[in-house]
């Protein structure tokens, strides 16, 4: 400080310090980033000018593990990716391996799989709705959502003994027969759920604050969504009618009638509406399927030791969050040579920066919520 006026010092610092741009670090232990997502935001006042998602805090090397496990042994691991939609993960993996083996599960197994997967879709969307509403400050819906989700988890528990990471399906079909009263349980849930979902909508859909917080927030145009590889409800809310259940039917979806809800704008509100409608459609699928579960075997004849012929396969399903794909390379041994998962959350998270730029800090929370990410799946 040789210069008593200290002008030198002030000139130096002026280049270092921006006028009112600050870096705000959200996470990895921020309550509303749904796990250990870390977001670095560059803020101009309260407006986001740049954002960066930093992931990997939950990396467990699931894909690598697969290379040292037999095909059956790896099946429970996939449940740990999207742990709020374990059944869907299992379905994707089992069908991919079945495709690799060149076989198919019996029709009864496929119908039961469809029912359970659709229930899982409802459960996943319920969890999303509750936490998303909580992020935006509505404290009550989350408890209502958990109440209904609990019913679904009870059905899972009765069916296979586990609630969250179910490992419900086996390669080639199902391990367990449905329990007595399965149909009644699902039916009771579906009947109940019809007016439960109206209950959520009375709390949110027309609420001025909710509309104000979600309309026009985090807009993602259809072109951007396609360019970024976004799938699932996020894509459909942007106006692209793309649903693998219709586009490349798997399990037993080709037998049932259902709509693919889409919206135009691609903002947070549209994604909300799309997911609400998807829950209704899932309920309809469940009701149709439960009417007529075909009888017959639940397991294809595939033998105890799986040795798929050398080759590779890619199979994808419409998980609650978007396209969940498995790319499996077999070298003819009992263990896969390589397994690569295409997780919907990971790809959808790419759209975050597009949505967040120019929005406010409060919207960032809404935008993270609306993508519906699960970090277990993003990081694997």
């Amino acid at each position: 400080m040789s210069d008593p006026r200290g002008t030198e010092l002030s000139n130096v610092s002026a280049t270092v310090l921006g006028a009112d741009e600050i870096i705000l670090n959200m996470g990895p232990q921020h309550p509303s980033t749904h796990g250990v997502l870390r977001v670095k935001l560059k803020l101009d006042g309260e407006r986001v000018v740049d954002s960066e998602c930093i992931i990997g805090y939950l990396h467990r090397g699931v894909e690598k593990i697969a290379e040292h496990r037999s095909y059956q042994q790896f099946a429970p691991y996939v449940d740990r990716m999207d742990y709020v939609a374990a059944v869907s993960n299992g379905l994707g993996y089992c069908e991919a391996v079945e495709k690799l083996l060149g076989t198919e599960a019996p029709i009864r197994a496929r119908v039961v799989r469809t029912i359970l997967t659709e229930l899982q879709r409802i459960a996943s969307h319920l969890l999303w709705l509750g936490t998303h509403a909580l992020d935006i400050g509505a404290l009550t819906p989350v408890f209502y959502c958990f109440r209904e989700r609990e019913e679904i988890l009870k059905i899972f528990e009765k069916y296979c003994g586990a609630r969250l990471t179910t490992h419900a399906f086996r390669i080639g079909g199902l391990q367990y027969e449905t329990y007595d009263g399965f149909e009644q349980d699902v039916k009771r849930f579906c009947d109940d759920f019809a007016h439960r979902i109206d209950e959520y909508e009375t709390l949110l859909t027309e609420n001025r604050i909710w509309v104000g917080r979600t309309k026009g927030v985090g807009i993602l145009s259809a072109a951007d969504a396609i360019a970024l590889g976004v799938t699932g409800p996020v894509l459909r809310a942007s106006g692209v009618k793309w649903d693998l259940r219709k586009a490349m039917p798997y399990a037993a979806y080709d037998q049932y009638k259902f709509e693919i809800p889409t919206r135009e704008t691609g903002d947070t509100y549209d994604r909300y509406v799309v997911r609400m409608e998807e829950m209704r459609q899932s309920r309809l699928i469940c009701l149709q399927a439960i009417e007529n579960i075909p009888t017959g075997p639940i397991m294809a004849r595939i033998g105890k030791v799986l040795k798929p012929p050398p080759g590779e396969v890619y199979h994808s399903i419409e998980a609650p969050k978007g396209e969940l794909g498995y790319y499996i390379v077999s070298d003819g041994t009992t263990q896969p040579y390589r397994v690569r998962v295409r997780p919907p959350s990971f790809i959808n998270l790419q759209a975050f920066d597009k949505m967040a730029r120019g929005s406010l800090v409060a919207d960032v929370v809404a935008i993270i919520g609306t993508i519906d990410i699960v970090l277990g799946e993003v990081d694997r």
Partner: protein, 440 residues
Amino acid sequence: MSHLLSPSIMRLVLPVIYAVVIVAVLPLLAGYIVLVERKVMADMQARLGPMRVGPHGLLQPIADAVKLLLKEDIIPDKADRLLFWLAPLVSVTMALLAYAALPIGPAFQIADLNIGLLFILAVSSLGIYGIVLGGWASNSHYSLLGALRSAAQLVSYETAAGLGLISALLLAGSLSMKDIVIAQYDQGIWFIFYVPIGFFIYMVGSIAETNRAPFDLPEAESELVAGYMTEYSGFRWSLYFLAEYANMIIVAGIATTLFLGGWLRPFASSHTALPGTSIELLDALPSLLVLGVALYCFYLAPRQPVKIQKLVMAMAGGLCLIIAGVLVGALFASPAVLQGIHGAFWFLAKVFAYIYFFLWFRFTFPRYRFDQLMRLGWRFLIPLALVNLIATATALLATREWGGSLFFYTVLADVVTLAVAMFLAKNDEVDSVVPVADGE
């Protein structure tokens, strides 16, 4: 003994007693409001709420207080120690100071200031320093952003709330809290029926001022962690907490005094005595209500699972019984005592009713975004409050000039204000659909 009770001494001693009572009771009251809040929340969310500490969680506030006091007191590195220490004190002092002018009963008031209402508004507006300085002194982005939000929010909504209050002030013609209640007694009607829109504006403004949902941006837990309180813990944190709940009671008290008739019972101006006595019909109501609660407690007591919980429940019933006894006793005492005790009962009942609305809103609505909150304040509430003010003043003037019933004119004024409100809301809707544009 007689000289001790002489009026001049009592004039000095009574305020001190009141002050001590308020300072002693307020933390407990705040604790129980938290319990009520959790119970109401649980009820609205289809669950039970606190059930473990005491029957139905009756002792939960005490357990919470003990926990808070025993927590480690952490001062962040590089925090401004002096201000970090001072800020919660400012918050809580200002909140407590406001009670000086709040009339809980016709006599139960520490100081009947000529400018009572302004005094309360002034001190509660000073509470903002506690928040802003606390947020700044913590040396954390979260705290600072929370503090700045809250500064902006308080300044804007104070204006709206103040303008809402003035409509009632016009009717009362005084700033003294006591005179305002007396004016309502004289006119035989609570001011809420004259200026419902003013009440509504004040209600929204007061929710925003106390940082309650849906205006709880300064402490939006999902966005800014806990806002300005992020870095606080233990005792300091509980001071903030106390200040928040004390402020809630204050705003509820202001609303009660200005719009809901203060300590007056419903239909205070009509007198219907019970046959054969001098006891009035409606004066018996409080005792019966509390008696009902006491009986319910006694009904629940043997149904508690644990012996100690049975005991606590019975004690709660006994407490209610004692209160009911006091209320009944007051019926036979002198009119001043009757007014004092029953006044406090009605005042607290109205305050709790008002706070119940706060809770109801909190568990129903999502949270506003900062710009939306500002828009609501500046572009809807303040213009509406101004229109309401002018309309009410016109109604008063019309009554004075042309005669006729004030009620008729105020209804007209309200209709006009509502029309303006519709217009404003429609304008607002057009704006809010437009996506957030960049600031270029």
